[in-house]
Symmetry: C2
Subunit: 248 residues, 2 copies
Amino acid sequence: MTLKVYADRMSQPSRAIIIFCKVNGIDFEEVRIDLVKRQHRSPKFKEINPMGQVPAVVDGRYKLFESHAILSYLSCAFPGIPDHWYPADLFTRAKIQSILDWHHTNLRRGAATFVLNRALGPALGLPLNPQAANEAEIILRASLSKIESLWLKGNAKFLLGNFQPSIADLSLVCEIMQLEVVDEEDRDRVLGPHPKILQWIENVKSATSPHFEEVHGILHKVKARLHGRLANAKPNDTHLSMKPNPKL
Amino acid sequence: MTLKVYADRMSQPSRAIIIFCKVNGIDFEEVRIDLVKRQHRSPKFKEINPMGQVPAVVDGRYKLFESHAILSYLSCAFPGIPDHWYPADLFTRAKIQSILDWHHTNLRRGAATFVLNRALGPALGLPLNPQAANEAEIILRASLSKIESLWLKGNAKFLLGNFQPSIADLSLVCEIMQLEVVDEEDRDRVLGPHPKILQWIENVKSATSPHFEEVHGILHKVKARLHGRLANAKPNDTHLSMKPNPKL
């Protein structure tokens, strides 16, 4: 029975799961759960994930949510997945788990809150909140500095000095990629001081090409729509209500 | 070489690691990192954990931080740890990982922010913030409802209907236990509607006795000190500066 991946490509952990499956030749069906239409809160989807969040997977009779748990499960449950994604070596695996755990309350907290309050909120019916964006930017910048100084030391291509990417590289880079939807000045201010982060994004992109670019294609469309709306908005109109759009 | 556990028992993930080691007969040295004295920010401790947080462990030449990564590492690295703590079965293990991932941005976010802003802040030199406490209480209560309805269904003794505790039971219950330091009215309002949660706490306590009570003993001392200070505070004095106290 084919693996079902319930996802919205606007969600960065959804993108990580889809890219992982495509890169590793996992036969799967992508089931779109439209966040703008609030399909993640529907009773039907809550039978798949009672937390009402994407991504979630159904593998035969087995249901699972939380993207990091899904990535480690897929690494072990499907034959032929290269070891570098989730190394069997106890010590390396624990270091990867450590990064994934750290991610929740650092990079993810900073990046998702920043992007939501700087650009994306209106698409989800939420107002932009400059103060929340500024606070989140501090967490985001500190997180990027930590990644660069701690896990991308020397000439490392991937986290922990590895030569091949792990699920931690994929999860964290997909998180950072959402900065594509903020305006270029904001993105350059945040990412500009981190050349190693920029090179690492390129390395993950190369290692997962062409799936990385294809799955991230949605961000360019959303950016164009968001910025068109912002340009047309009246001054101080920070709450841009957008009707659900199936093209988002 | 003996495992070193860098911890402050005021930190709930520190307590989870210490209890796990004691229950499983792991030979370890507890190295106190005093949060009130800000020892976690010292250059010396940052050589152990550059993130400046407890808990962290050093096992020979191997260093690790993030409590969930540590718990799964210890479950695999030491001989004779019963399988129920971190089951080798792929499907059960992934479900446990899912709970641990969910925990970061739900129960932990709610409980830690609630307790910090309702009671503990002054001990760490931070003001109490009633609005932040109220917002955190909403997340905390929603998290408890989810745990009860989803993972403690029926007459389950432990999460996922298991007969023995896993590292997820230990981590989540240690998180909830910090509610011991808020006043009883607050604690009853939050936990009172959740009889299954209360029974589950008792089950984890029984399964890890007497270490659970011994390691949590610090909470009773802190509560007595905090409430003594609050009772003596002037009206509106929500920022109670407490000098570092080695007895905390």
